[in-house]
């Protein structure tokens, strides 16, 4: 455990018991967990055991209320300030529907692609030793650190009309996808990496020596262990992609019905003094995202028990 983990645990926010999570099962080589800022699945899976001390939950709930619930409540109040009719008109307006559709579909596709790519990259980073590995590892966090509007400008220069690769993705849905892939990759790598790092390679070796093929090792041992983490990463990537604004808004060209994402439409509404409508569309976006995240959470719990080898 790193110092950070220890601090978090002492504040009553971490997993209180040492009940081994799926990530830590087995006598594995315990590598230092450098990337624990993205909650490993074990911490999330055992969130239910918080209630042993009274102070912990109280603190957590107060903090959550101030930071999350209060703004959400304000959002809902705002959205319905003009009544149900205004709310419905705002969320069924064709431009809003088109923007919501585009955003959600793009976010889903991006989350799926990056989950696969993220798993592959995490695997390489954990299992392979090569020169410059630490640099590559640091690079992955770059999209986190880069202000999104700078990312947008960079992507526009790279994939726009003056693209050095002769790709003109400006004003296309592919351009939106490229921007979202860029900003969401760290989630998919960083949520899988610590889990992979703690997996015991010896178990895979044992399976191989017992005659399992590469495919079987992958399917029966590796995937079941990392799947919850992959899904967690996919959830984070999806959520980020749904709300992404800065990196997308330049390369998308922001053409209504074609490349206008929901966050951009919401921004336009807020600029047009239509805050209730902006809040209404936001609520739909948040609700659908919540459903998707709940679905992912459900799937993660389902897969959290690895199949017996």
């Amino acid at each position: 455990m790193t110092n950070l983990d220890a601090t978090v645990a002492d504040l009553g926010l971490g997993p209180p018991s040492r009940d081994p999570g799926p990530a830590e099962r087995g006598p594995g080589r315990r590598r230092s967990r450098r990337y624990s800022l993205v909650a490993p699945s074990s911490a999330l899976a055992h969130a239910g055991t918080f209630g042993k001390k009274a102070a912990g939950p109280a603190l957590a709930v107060t903090y959550l209320s101030l930071l999350v619930l209060l703004p959400v409540a304000a959002l809902i109040t705002n959205a319905f300030s003009g009544g149900w009719h205004t709310f419905w008109a705002a969320v069924t307006q064709p431009e809003a529907v088109a923007a919501l559709e585009l955003t959600l579909v793009a976010a889903l596709i991006v989350a799926i692609i990056n989950s696969i790519a993220g798993l592959a990259i995490a695997f390489v980073l954990v299992r392979d030793d090569f020169k410059g590995k630490s640099v590559v590892s640091a690079l992955i966090d770059l999209p986190f650190a880069l202000p999104t509007i700078v990312a947008g400008l960079t992507l526009l220069a790279l994939y726009g009309a003056n693209s050095p690769f002769h790709l003109d993705l400006a004003g296309t849905r592919l351009g939106i996808g490229a921007a979202l892939l860029f900003v969401t990759l760290p989630f998919c790598v960083r949520s899988v990496q610590p889990v992979l790092a703690e997996l015991d390679a010896e178990i895979e070796d044992a399976a191989s020596s017992l005659g399992a093929t590469r495919r079987q090792v992958l399917r029966r041992i590796l995937l079941p262990s990392v799947l919850p983490a992959v899904l967690a990463g996919a959830g984070l990537a999806f959520a980020r992609a749904v709300g992404e604004f800065g990196s997308v808004v330049l390369i998308s060209g922001n053409i209504p019905f074609k490349t206008e994402v929901a966050s951009s439409w919401i921004f336009s509404l807020s600029q047009s003094d239509a805050l209730p409508a902006a809040s209404a569309v936001s609520i739909v976006l948040v609700l659908i995202s919540l459903l998707v995240l709940l679905g992912i959470g459900w799937a993660r719990r389902r897969f959290d028990v690895p199949e017996t080898v």
Binding site: D10, P16, S17, L153, A161, V249, P256, S270, S272, A274
Partner: protein, 351 residues
């Protein structure tokens, strides 16, 4: 810390590293706070002298205000006064002030944003009852084209030809875009078209839009990245970009709208703030505006500059005034532009 250790399996064992980690966090916090304190000191000192003016403005005049603030401090009434500016999209800035952003002087892209402050009781309803009718700078809507104007764009009719890529910001998020649309609409009326024909023109124009970025600056970035053949923009913004060495040509449309940017002091403004606005409207201030690419509102100063004169120059009042136009054209749900986008969107989706 130790007594409420939630790790029953390892009591006490955590306290060592945890204390170290806690110390490290404190150290980091102190490091992070240090520069903040340094920044806060001069600001606080400025506030104490009472010579600070909070300016809240739309984004394009930022470079001009850097010069104007310095020059104002050299005048008698401005001696020792610091102008600190906040710049951003006009609509956002107006909303921020309504929601509590401290402001002594407000300068917006267009009048409806000032109306928000009047409605909120922050700016006197007689803000436009002065010699310049509350306007500090004029400009026009211009065409920005590629160097040498390879697509030969000289008139509004050229913008709707097939294969011409137009960039104009999204009307619902950008004040600049509203000026562009009203310039196009008014130009058609000036050419003798009916209101219905002018609306059809708007539809054709937006059909040719290859990007509708969220703001004027995003639109300029998009254009400079190589997208599109023509960008509709404030003349002053175009002149500034050109002065920065960007590769572009400016075409003055034969018919265009006179952009008028309103300025006002808030009801709580200090005498320094009022002096600053007086300076901005003085011969000296207007000369700086002119050098920065804005059309001075004082005729005596405007004469010193040689801005191109379009054949027909109309104002928003010719089109019914901002209050009427804003609802009729730019309501995101019922406005003409919303309907145009929707009909275009339907054809896009089916085609």
């Amino acid at each position: 810390m130790q007594t409420r250790s939630p790790h029953p399996s390892t009591p006490g064992a955590r306290s060592g590293p945890s204390r170290r980690a806690f110390g490290r966090v404190l150290g980091l916090a102190a490091l992070a706070a240090a520069p903040l304190a340094l920044i806060a000191v001069p600001t606080a000192a400025g506030a104490q002298t009472g010579g600070s003016v909070n300016l809240v403005a739309y984004s394009t005049p930022k470079p001009a205000y850097t010069i104007l603030g310095t020059d104002f401090a050299k005048t008698n009434s401005g001696a020792g006064v610091t102008v600190s500016g906040s710049f951003g999209p006009s609509g956002t800035q107006a909303t921020s002030v309504v929601d509590g952003l401290p402001a002594d002087v407000v300068n917006f892209s267009l009048e409806p944003d000032m109306a928000k402050l009047v409605k909120a009781g922050l700016v006197s309803s007689s803000w436009d009852k002065n010699a310049t009718k509350g306007i500090v700078t004029d400009s026009i809507v211009s065409f920005i084209v590629r160097p040498g104007n390879p697509k030969h764009i000289t008139s509004w009719a050229d913008l709707v030809k097939p294969g011409v890529g137009v960039i104009t910001p999204n009307v619902f998020s950008s004040g600049s875009a509203k000026w562009n649309i009203m310039a196009a609409y008014g130009a058609e009326l000036a050419l003798g078209k009916t209101s219905a024909q002018a609306q059809t023109y708007l539809s054709q124009l937006l059909h040719n839009a290859v990007a509708q970025p969220s703001s004027a600056s995003a639109a300029l970035q998009t254009f400079l990245s190589g997208q599109g053949d023509v960008l509709l923009d404030y003349e002053d913004d175009a002149l500034y970009a050109k002065s920065k060495g960007e590769a572009l040509d400016i075409v003055t449309p034969p018919q265009t709208i006179l952009i008028e940017n309103p300025i006002a002091v808030t009801k709580t403004a200090s005498p320094s703030a009022k002096a600053f606005v007086t300076y901005l409207l003085s011969d000296a201030g207007q000369k700086v505006w002119g050098q920065q690419g804005y059309r001075p509102v004082l005729p005596s100063v405007a004469k010193q500059f040689h801005f191109p004169q379009p054949k027909t120059l109309f104002t928003i009042d010719h089109l019914g005034g901002w209050t009427a136009v804003n609802t009729k054209f730019f309501d995101p749900q019922t406005g003409i532009v919303a309907h145009v986008e929707q009909s275009l969107g339907v054809s896009t989706a089916s085609g």
